[in-house]
């Protein structure tokens, strides 16, 4: 794959990753948020596939498969499992309300675009020019972490951050070596599993908790 189709396909997939991140910020129903996460995972996998086809790199396509399986399918399932019996649970009162967080996300996207152009130029490839989007997705994901109260959102936020970074990795160097990528994905999966276990434990042991209730440890 090369030329225009490659560029537009890549741009589309990359854009989808960012859009999914913003969507998480926007949406309040947990079910739709998980769907957005799943979509983002698949979009990320797509980026890898497109790049793999473009570079004729089978390792990259294998990586893409891992990404899609882990981030697009396994983790969303896990998240659904964690939310479990309350699929309609909503984030009703985020720390920053939705309009404000959208404005904020616009701001961080702007910062990402403004400040990472240097790296983009340095990479010098078509994919490289999309690096700012990766940074933007990362920052938006981070903003989710900061602004939402429900425990599940923090899991989602970590995923978003991680996906943003993976995106950057794909764009700048077509991914890290396969072995490492495998390890990274495993780690992320495990981290989310651990978070899920903790979230479940929180709910079963102490009832339905917001993160605000976890403020007992301080000086």
């Amino acid at each position: 794959m090369s030329g225009q189709p490659f560029a537009s396909g890549l741009t589309l997939a990359v854009g989808a990753v960012l859009v999914c991140a913003v969507a998480v910020l926007w949406l309040s129903s947990l079910a739709s948020v998980i769907r957005a996460v799943s979509l983002q995972g698949i979009a990320l996998g797509t980026v890898a596939i497109v790049l793999g086809l473009h570079l004729h790199d089978p390792a990259l396509i294998a990586t893409a498969a891992v990404v899609i399986v882990v981030k697009g399918l396994a983790i969303p399932m896990l998240l659904r499992h964690v939310t479990g019996d309350q699929p309609l649970e909503r984030e009703t009162r985020p720390l920053v309300n939705v309009p404000a967080s959208l404005v904020a996300s616009a701001a961080v996207i702007f910062i990402a675009f403004a400040r990472t152009r240097g790296i983009a130029r340095y990479v010098g490839t078509t994919a490289g020019s999309l690096v700012p989007v990766g940074f933007a997705a990362l920052l938006v994901g981070y903003f989710v972490l900061v602004s939402k109260r429900r425990p599940v959102f923090q899991m989602v936020g970590i995923l978003l951050v991680d996906n943003g970074i993976s995106l950057v990795a794909f764009l700048v160097t077509a991914g890290v070596p396969f072995l490492i990528e495998l390890g990274v994905s495993l780690d992320v999966l495990l981290a989310v599993v651990v978070l899920g276990v903790l979230a479940v434990r929180l709910r079963t042991d102490f009832g339905d908790l917001d993160l605000d209730d976890l403020q007992e440890l301080h000086d």
Partner: protein, 509 residues
């Protein structure tokens, strides 16, 4: 081969534990494997001094002087912590505070934790290093939450969320390093090897490396406990079981710092030392200031120790900022000294918590009179941590300050000194409350006993009244041994100097 052995030993212990279901025999076998790690690490260090860097597992593992030194630190502290951990779990089981399954999980995870840290320092590759450090996060989250109280859960939640984000940023940094390395024409499989990074360092793009290093410092700094991503540290350390806190504070933090050190070596060649210096001095002074401020009104002694760790990580960062071989050697010495002293302190504080039932400073008093052995260990440990001779932290701090002055960072050293004095003031006040005073508890008993107990000198009073198992020589002996080691390192240098300076020259030339 030795390196693989080093990695497999703790896992072997884990296997024995899993099969033996945490029965004492199995548990002590696991401890023995940790001691074997220490011995083997010493062996590796000696061998490294003889024939240069070792490598193993098809180049995935590599041990130069720096790695060998870190493995040695890990081994030493793992011995201490797992010994006490086994005793703690035995006590928990005896009093039915936790199920056998949970006890087994705990012990197995501790072994996994040690193995992950060993992998981190032995990894030849930046990516493997990252994976290993992330693995420590995952393992320790469960360890932090071992007690299953609400506080423990809260702490482990904060721990994994903050550390995952942080470590993710480190990964971003790694990716950028990889980008720069690939642009120098590196081969994708080996581009992230330390040796290759080091040899191509002068060709790495400075602009990209700047961003990468900032992200790495921020990311690994999270696990090190450097401001601004330090916030998980007091919570996790105060909630985790004492042996886990000891391992985390004693080695995990410094293993993460080891990563920063490695990258700094590359950075200094790629960009020049002034950039990494500025960055490290900033985070270090922030950490010191933060630790000093929060120690002033601290009310919890485990949190006090945790903030103390932040302080020491700040100091280590400051030492690394100087970057000359003297400074790096001092940093490494400090890592060892701090590891020993801090793990002893955390282990002692676990004992204190077990017998006093509280981790509040104002809930503990007159330890020296009531529990002389424990109080003595705690007091001496604090002295060591505050950087008083004969403990090695004094020497290493002094050397670091010397190094700061030599590279023109004297002002930063002076500022750090101010923070350290404030910390001294704060800790002295807290320690005074915890350690000194009459054994009021004994007074509640018979009046006659008070006089006898008080007059008997500090080696006899109070032990009889302590809870069973507490202050038994089996607990105090390893703690005392840790402190003695810390003291001896501060006085007798010859076995270590060669290794230290060789390790320092790995990072700084």
């Amino acid at each position: 081969m030795a390196l693989i052995g080093l990695l497999l030993l703790p896992l072997l212990g884990a296997g024995v534990l899993a099969i033996g279901r945490a029965r004492p025999a199995a548990a002590y076998t696991a401890v023995a494997t940790n001691c074997a790690v220490l011995v083997l690490a010493i062996g590796v260090a000696v061998r490294e001094r003889e024939i240069g860097p070792l490598s193993g597992a098809y180049g995935v593992l590599r041990a130069d002087a720096l790695s060998a030194f870190m493995a040695l630190v890990i081994g030493a502290i793992a011995c201490l912590a797992s010994w006490i951990g086994v005793r703690m779990i035995a006590a928990d089981l005896a009093e039915q505070r936790c199920s056998r399954a949970r006890a087994t999980t705990y012990l197995v995870l501790v072994q996994g934790f040690v193995a992950a840290m060993l992998l981190a320092v032995l990894a030849a590759n930046v990516g493997v290093l990252w994976v290993a450090i992330e693995a420590t996060t995952i393992v320790t989250t469960f360890l932090v939450g071992h007690r299953r109280t609400k506080g423990a859960l809260e702490a482990s939640w904060k721990y994994i969320v903050i550390c995952s984000v942080g470590i993710a940023l480190a990964f971003l940094g790694t990716v950028l390093v990889y980008l720069a390395a690939m642009h120098t024409g590196g081969h994708s499989a080996s581009a992230l090897d330390w040796t290759s990074l080091r040899s191509h360092a002068s060709h790495l793009d400075p602009a990209v490396m700047r961003v990468a290093f900032a992200l790495l410092v921020l990311g690994y700094g999270t696990k090190v406990g450097l401001v601004p991503m330090h916030s998980w540290l007091p919570d996790a350390h105060s909630q985790a079981p004492a042996p886990v806190s000891a391992l985390m504070s004693g080695v995990l933090l410094t293993v993460a710092f080891y990563a920063i050190l490695r990258f700094k070596a590359v950075m200094d060649v790629a960009v020049g030392p002034s950039y990494s210096r500025a960055l490290l001095v900033t985070v270090s002074l922030l950490s010191l200031a933060f630790a000093a401020s929060l120690l002033l009104t601290q009310r919890d002694y485990k949190r006090m120790l945790a903030y103390h760790s932040i302080e020491h990580m700040g100091l280590i960062a400051l030492g690394a900022a100087a970057g000359i071989p003297l400074a790096i050697a001092a940093v490494l010495l400090h890592i060892l000294g701090h590891g020993l002293a801090k793990s002893v302190l955390f282990l002692a504080s676990g004992e204190i918590m077990a017998v006093e039932g509280t981790s509040r400073i104002d809930g503990v008093h007159a330890l020296l009179a009531r529990r002389p052995a424990l109080g003595g260990i705690f007091g001496v440990g604090l002295l060591a941590l505050l950087g008083l001779p004969p403990f090695s932290l004094f020497t290493s701090e002094l050397l670091m300050i010397r190094a700061e002055f030599e590279v023109g960072l004297g002002w930063a050293a002076a500022a750090a000194m101010v923070a350290m004095v404030v910390i001294f003031v704060a800790v002295a006040a807290h320690a005074r409350h915890m350690l000194f005073g009459p054994a009021a508890g004994a007074r509640a008993g018979t009046g006659a006993d008070t006089g006898a107990g008080a007059g008997a000198g500090d080696e006899s009073g109070g032990i009889g009244s302590a809870a069973p198992g507490v202050s038994s020589p089996l607990v105090t002996a390893p703690l005392v041994a840790g402190l003695v080691a810390c003291g001896l390192i501060g006085v007798f240098a010859w076995p270590l100097t060669g290794l230290l300076s060789a390790a320092a020259h790995v990072v700084a030339r």
